[in-house]
Every structure is written in C-alpha cells, then in structure tokens.
C-alpha cells in the first residue's frame, strides 16, 4: 500500500525527465477538455442553468494533479478551442487564460505541497481536494466575471456578486463530483504510467 507521501517522493537516484509522452498527454487532455467543455454541459438534461455547470473543469483539476505543469498548460489552452466551438469572441477567450490556468494550478500545488494521495485514501485527501478546487474555482470565478466580463462591459458592477457566485458554484460542484470519480477510478492507473508527473514537469 502506497501512501500519499511515497507517491510524491523521489526515490533515491530516481531520474525523471520530461518526455514525448508528456507532450502527447497534454494534447490528449486538450482534446478531452475541449469536447467535454463544448458538448458535455450542453447535453446534460437539467434544462435551464446549463451555463452554470461546466464539467470540463474536472479536466483542469485532475490534469494538474496527475500531470503537473502539463495539466496546467492543457487546462489553460483547451478552453480556447471549446469556446471557439461555441462562438465566444476571441479576446474574451484569450482573457480567460490566466483564470483557467489557476483552476488547474491550485489543486496541483495543494496535492504536491501537502502530499495528498490522488487515489483519495483518507478524509484528509478529500478535504485537500475539495478545498483546493474551491480555492482554484474562486480565483477563476473572480477572474472570469470581474476581470474579463466586466472589462468587456458584459456585466454591470452590481450584478457581479451573483455572477461570481454562479460561476464559483458552477465550477466547484462539477469539479468536486467529477474530480472524485476520476481520481478514484483512475489514479491507481495513472500513478503507474509513464505520463505521471511527480514534480512539475516530470
């Protein structure tokens, strides 16, 4: 049984180098993110409110946790494609990049710093996951409506709180639900694969 500590620790003499596999996994993450981002929410039969349910955030969260900097890179880039598919103006898409990067970066950072187990073995792991997704989404939620939508004049100042909260909830909830399912289902596989990233790039 491995613990969170062992998973992130470098063994003595262990050499890890970024490889072509990481480029490939980044491209595949972009693919999943773009498809889930563009179509995943549309087909969800909830009716009104689909705009506030963005499952693709899970790709950012687990991508960062499993694949470090590569996951963050993919998480920042794939919304450009999924937004393009849905017709979002190009500069709005570009302006989202930092927010998206943070949504992927914060859980990745938390898991590495606090040595949490991606397979979510203890309640501590769950708490770290939930809190880090919440913090990441909070940064995204502030960046999205406040910096981007506001500066493009798409929202008024007094409506900001509502949109920030809607954005936050719409990202945090799917992030946590999808994140838990993915981490539990596949972490054991990922950790054993050559694409797993212990540090930031390898």
């Amino acid at each position: 049984m491995t613990t969170g500590k062992e998973i992130w620790a470098f063994e003595e003499g262990e050499k890890r180098r970024a490889s072509i596999t990481h480029i490939v996994i980044t491209a595949l993450l972009i693919g999943i993110g773009a498809v889930v981002g563009a179509f995943g929410s549309f087909s969800f039969p909830l009716g009104f409110g689909v705009n506030f349910f963005w499952p693709a955030i899970a790709v950012q969260n687990v991508g960062g946790i499993w694949f470090g900097g590569w996951g963050v890179l993919a998480g920042a880039l794939f919304p450009l494609i999924s937004n393009g598919i849905t017709g979002t103006p190009i500069y709005v898409s570009l302006a989202y990049i930092p927010g998206n990067a943070f949504q992927a970066f914060i859980p990745a950072l938390a898991f590495r710093l606090l040595k949490a187990d991606p397979s979510l073995k203890s309640s501590r792991d769950y708490i770290i996951l939930v809190l880090s997704i919440a913090v990441g989404s909070a940064i995204g939620a502030i960046w999205g409506p406040m910096v981007v939508l506001r500066s493009f004049g798409l929202l008024t100042a007094s409506s900001l709180p509502l949109f920030i909260f809607g954005w936050f909830a719409g990202n945090t909830i799917p992030g946590i639900i999808f994140g838990i399912i993915l981490l539990k289902a596949l972490s054991s596989v990922v950790v054993r694969s050559s694409s797993f990233v212990k540090g930031w790039w390898a």
Binding site: K184, A185, L186, S188, V189
Partner: protein, 278 residues
C-alpha cells in the same frame, strides 16, 4: 411465428446527413446465430445499433419482443438486446471488475443481492476467475477486457447478444475460444447471437445465418452455406468466401460442392473422392 426482432423499412441518417441505412427489412428469430457482414461503411454497425435502440430510426420501425425501440425505455431494451462494443476501453466505467459487471444491473435498479448473483454468474460464464473481480480492468490484457465487456452485458441477461468485431486483435486460438463460448450461450441458454465481423472463416465456422450489407441495404440473407456459394453476389459488398470455400468452388468441375464451410468438411470430401473415384 412472430420474429423476436422485426425491422420494417428502417432508414437511418446521421446528424451530418449521411444516409447509413435505406429501407432495411430484417427479421431475427429465436434460434438465430447470425453474422452481419459487409465492407467497412456498408451500414452493418449502424444497423446493429438500431436493434436495441442505441440509435433510433429516422424512418421505419424496429420492434423488439413487441416493443417499439423509438418509444421503449432503455431498461426495457437492455433486458432484451445486449450490445458489446468493439473496443472494450470505450465501456470501462469502474475501477474494479466486480463494479464494472455490476454497473448494468445496478443501472436497471436491481437489488444488491440480485446484482451479486448476476455478477457471479456472468463471471463464471465468460471464464473470469474470482481473483479478477478486484482487479482494475485497465490492467487486464485485451482478451480479458473483452470478456469483462461481454460479462457486463450478460449480467443484464438479454435474450439477444450482439457482439461487434468479437475477434479483432485476438489470435486464432482466442477467436475460437470466444466463438465457442458464444456458441455455448446460444445452444445451452438459448440466446440469439448476432456478430458483426470481417472474419469470414469465423463466420463460416460458427454462424447459421448470414446477412450481407452493401451501401446501407441488405443484399443477401440466408443460411451460411447458401450465402457463401454465391461469390459473385458477395463481391458486390467486397466480401469473399473463406479460402476453403473458394478452393471447393475452384474444383466444381470435379464435382466439389460450392458451399463447403470448414476445413474438416473439405478434407472429408477430398478423401471421399480419392477413395471412390476409382
């Protein structure tokens, strides 16, 4: 006798406008072991996905055990027709084999005790061992992953089992194993089996009935020996009879039958000719 699956004037076009099926009629009966063959893109996968309501007809109707697939619920359908996808990796949703096989039965709302019975039964039928149940399906070799995929459909206990490309990526021995086991399901448990395949020797050896598709239509439908004895018709769908059948057809002048399906049959015919010709 009413057919178990009755396809009437079925047409299907994909959202991008491609017309994949044109006015197809097909009756699948109790006791059928059917192979659906034809060139890539001839519509056989589309047709097989229409048989359990994964795809709904654009036009025409598909009746399964009296239920219209366009109005029946998913649960009603999966209890009757099971569909095993070609690549097992598209259908692995859980992190251990037990949950994977239990996923279907749980979806249709069975109680956990019943689920457990079915998982154990399905595991036994496909020849998985108990030690496999706790393994992550991802780590199993492809042959076993395919068995997990079949077991997870069997656990829903459908009358009809459709398997898309059961032998792709398997070696001959594994192919025979899978097909023998489908035959057992057919003969002992009375399942109707439908395979979608490119593997003609497998079709010749195991299927009782062959349906040939080309350009979204059924161009031939009949007993296997009958269908394979018309090579010129088959070539319209870019299909050839198996090598042994073609050997027999090249020896028609010596009185060989045009519909030999198995190597052993051919050997027997040659032997007989050699013995009795003098």
């Amino acid at each position: 006798m009413a057919a178990y699956i009755d396809v009437q004037n079925l047409s299907y076009s994909y959202p991008d406008g491609t017309l994949a099926l044109r006015k197809v009629n097909l009756r699948v009966n109790n006791g059928d072991f059917l192979a659906l063959i034809g060139q890539n893109g001839s519509g056989k996968t589309t047709l097989s996905k229409c048989l359990n309501g994964i795809l709904k007809p654009t036009d025409g109707t598909v009746l399964v055990d009296g239920f219209d697939t366009s109005t029946a619920s998913v649960a009603e359908m999966v209890r009757r027709v099971g569909y095993v996808f070609q690549n097992p990796d598209h259908q692995i949703f859980n992190s251990n084999v037990y949950d994977e096989i239990a996923y279907g039965p749980r979806n249709i709302g069975l109680r956990e005790a019943e689920v457990k019975d079915r998982v154990i039964e399905a595991t036994r039928v496909v020849g998985l061992k108990d030690e496999h149940l706790s393994v992550h399906p991802f780590f199993l070799p492809k042959g076993l992953r395919q068995r997990v995929a079949i077991a997870s459909i069997l656990a829903l206990r459908p009358k009809v089992i459709i398997v898309d490309e059961p032998t792709t990526g398997q070696d001959m021995y594994q192919s025979f194993e899978i097909m023998n086991f489908l035959t057992e399901l057919h003969e002992k448990n009375g399942h109707i089996i439908i395979i979608v395949t490119h593997d003609m020797p497998i079709v010749a050896r195991y299927a009782k009935r062959v349906v040939v598709m080309a350009m979204g239509q059924i161009i031939m439908d009949g007993p296997t020996a009958e269908v394979f004895s018309h090579p010129e018709e088959l070539s319209k769908s870019f299909v050839k009879p198996p090598q042994i059948t073609r050997l027999g057809q090249s020896l028609l002048t010596y009185g060989f039958p045009p519909n030999i399906l198995r190597v052993e049959e051919m050997a027997a015919v040659v032997k007989e000719k050699m013995v009795f010709t003098p």
